[in-house]
């Protein structure tokens, strides 16, 4: 199948496709950021996207979530075309993402951050809130309880009323993942979740990723820089350089691929 390594197990290949990107191309004016990018991801997979700085990885995420509109190509999520849809509708269809540089609502409380992600599922309208109807009270209570459950899962329960910007870095990362999961996604896009973490924190993050994948039955597509994380948890990897895919395969195959080594370390490293 297009956009996948050939040697994956037949059990995985039999699963339905969740995300299918074909011939994705994006130009910033005349700068080619992404060229003919194709990836097909099946339900429940954990796929990595790696590449040196400026390879176009984050641009791919921005294209999937509708931040940019691609110059060409198609992005299908569970069969539905995403190109041209506004971001918030794409998110509401069941795709969530985090950001490379954390983007929390820094002046609001930890709980508010999660509650905001629930807004599309709030289930009450403007009139309910202005007149404080019974539906408002019931739904609001249910929302707060669900959000608190989320915070408990992520070990943030006792900080629910702290201002999000005041949390230590590691907890901010976690809160961002909690907020993304509160949108009730089936596909989670993680943009450099390990950025700025030490090896010990990366180990904890790997545990966390495995845990949320099982608990919420997620498909995960992650962009990462840190080999320690990618090589350990991804089932297969796509490598980008200068906007193009240069390799694809299981972690151990990619690690030995001379093109990949060249992209990361420069030509001299091979000689």
């Amino acid at each position: 199948m297009k956009g996948r390594p050939e040697n994956l197990s037949p059990e995985v290949e039999a699963r339905p496709v969740i995300l299918e990107i074909e011939g994705l191309t994006h130009y910033f004016d005349s700068l080619r950021a992404v060229h003919d990018f194709s990836v097909t991801i099946k339900e429940g997979e954990l796929v990595g996207l790696i590449g040196p700085n400026g390879a176009g990885k984050t641009t791919v995420f921005n294209l999937i979530t509708g931040v940019y509109r691609p110059t060409a190509g198609s992005i299908r999520y569970e069969g539905a075309q995403l190109v041209g849809l506004p971001s918030h509708e794409i998110i509401q269809m069941g795709i969530a993402r985090t950001f490379q540089n954390i983007r929390l609502f820094a002046n609001l409380t930890v709980l508010d951050n999660v509650l905001i992600a629930y807004h599309p599922h709030a289930g009450y309208g403007l009139a309910d809130s202005i007149f404080r109807s019974r539906r408002y009270r019931e739904r609001e209570k249910a929302m707060i309880e669900r959000s608190q459950e989320f915070l408990e899962i992520f070990g943030l329960a006792d900080r629910q009323n702290d201002i999000a910007g005041s949390l230590p870095y590691g907890l901010q990362r976690r809160l961002e993942i909690a907020r993304a999961l509160a949108t009730q996604p089936r596909l989670l896009l993680l943009d450099e979740p390990a950025a700025g973490m030490n090896p010990q924190e990366i180990d904890q993050l790997m545990e966390l990723i495995h845990f949320i994948r099982d608990r919420f039955q997620l498909t995960i597509f992650l962009v990462e820089h840190r080999m320690r994380l990618v090589m350990n948890i991804c089932e297969w990897i796509t490598v980008m350089d200068f906007g193009e895919i240069i390799a694809r395969g299981k972690p151990e195959e990619v690690r030995g691929n001379p093109q990949v080594i060249e992209a990361y370390l420069g030509r001299q490293a091979i000689r």
Binding site: H88, I130, E140, L171
Partner: protein, 423 residues
């Protein structure tokens, strides 16, 4: 009793009730003469405009300079309704009320229709909504008014005269506010797409357009009774303390309840980080329009209150310089604080009018626009977050939910605490 006093809702209603009774009593015994009443009513009107602006700028992060335009629209529209009414002409009442209803229905239809298409160009969206609104008002002028105008008039006049006057005043306030809301919605569709700074410039342009149109109501627009730059006289003086008080409370309550809801949090998220909000599934464009329209409805409502207190309207009241009053008030009081806006709103009008005329020496009038900007400058240097920052009194504060009580033993915590390690 003590427990009751600890209930913030109760204490707030108690406090508000006491203020209401106190002011009413002072008015009745004549301590608060017409001059002081005017200052209080004006303060309430400006505070309502400022609360609306704080919703748009302080809570939603969109910098608007157009609120005085909507204030003017509300003032002139409601004044026209009552002006004509007391001259036995129900046409303005019928046209504004029924036209607004028709326009709203048509615009709802248009937006439901346009929602079925993706990527409709902003200008096309604007045009369709604009046509829908125009059609609504056209139908009201052409068909509804000739058909039912007379019967509305006789029906309302069949009521006792005091009651019918109160109803007409209520409808005039609602009509002015709705008109301001409809126009702000139309204006917001194309303009809120721009970033916040450009939005500020565009809304400033709006205020100026409104001012120019008001200067020429009798020549450019078909409203000879507004008398253009000579000023509109003969508006019934119907604004009383209960009207001011209850309108003001309605504005405060609506704004508070809105901000304490899920929609309120969505509005806040747009201010915090628009892109992040969009990427957790918030329709940021709708939140911006919503905050803008509600803020403008407040301004329109305040305009109606002010017009029927002054009994006189002049375009210079809505000119360039006074249009900065709400901005000064919310920055001074604290962006994102209703409490701060309410305190500074009344205080600012007292400073502009009351203090000046009664207590300060004669020559100060010339100096006031030297002194006040200097006060503002000092304020910005010493306390840039404004008087109140984001502080709210308990009644207006968003409640912090208590931590969840765990009934069952919590799920095994699979993740070690990372917080300590991170530092």
């Amino acid at each position: 009793m003590r427990q009751l006093l600890r209930n913030t809702n109760f204490t707030f209603i108690l406090g508000a009730g006491l203020v209401f009774i106190l002011v009413q009593a002072l008015i009745s015994v004549g301590v608060l003469n017409a001059y002081w009443q005017g200052i209080i009513f004006w303060g309430a009107a400006i505070t309502m405009v400022s609360l609306g602006l704080n919703l748009i700028y302080g809570f939603n992060g969109q910098f608007s300079l157009g609120q005085f335009g909507f204030y003017a629209i509300g003032a002139y529209a409601s004044a026209d309704i009552t002006y004509r009414w007391v001259r036995n002409d129900p046409s303005a009442l019928v046209v504004v009320i029924f036209g607004s209803v028709l326009a709203l229905v048509f615009m709802l239809g248009v937006s439901a229709f346009l929602r079925r298409f993706y990527g409709v160009a902003t200008l096309a969206k604007f045009l369709f909504h604009f046509l829908a609104a125009v059609l609504g008002f056209f139908l009201a002028v052409r068909f509804v008014n000739p058909a039912i105008g007379k019967s509305v008039y006789t029906a309302l006049n069949a009521l006792p005269s005091g009651l019918s006057q109160q109803i007409v005043f209520f409808l005039a306030l609602v009509g002015g506010a709705t008109l301001a809301g409809i126009i702000s919605y139309l204006f917001g569709i194309p303009v809120l797409e721009l970033g916040s700074d450009y939005f500020g410039i565009a809304t400033l342009g709006f205020t100026i357009i409104v001012k120019v149109l008001l200067d020429n109501t009798d020549t450019l627009l078909p409203f000879p009774e507004m008398k253009g730059a000579r000023g509109m006289v003969g508006i019934p003086k119907w604004t009383t303390w209960p009207w001011v008080f209850f309108t003001f409370m309605a504005v405060v309550l609506v704004m508070r309840n809105l901000l304490h809801s899920s929609t309120g949090r969505a509005i806040l998220s747009v201010r915090e980080d628009e892109r992040a909000a969009e990427l957790v599934g918030i329709d940021t464009a709708s939140q911006k329009i919503l905050a803008f329209v509600i803020g403008s409805v407040f301004a329109g409502l305040a305009g109606g209150i002010r017009a029927h207190d002054m009994a006189f309207l002049h375009p210079t009241m809505f000119g360039f310089l006074p249009s900065f009053n709400p901005l000064i008030i919310i920055v001074f009081g604290g962006l994102g604080s209703m409490t701060g806006t309410i305190i500074t709103g009344f205080f600012w009008i007292f400073l502009l009018e009351g203090l000046l005329r009664l207590y300060l020496p004669e020559g100060f009038e010339t100096w006031r626009f030297v002194v006040y900007p200097l006060v503002l400058l000092l304020m910005m240097l010493l306390r840039p977050q404004g008087l109140m920052g984001r502080y709210e009194i308990a009644f207006l504060r968003r409640p912090l939910p208590p931590p969840r009580v765990k009934e069952s033993p919590p799920a095994p915590k699979p993740i070690p605490e990372a917080g300590e390690v991170a530092v």
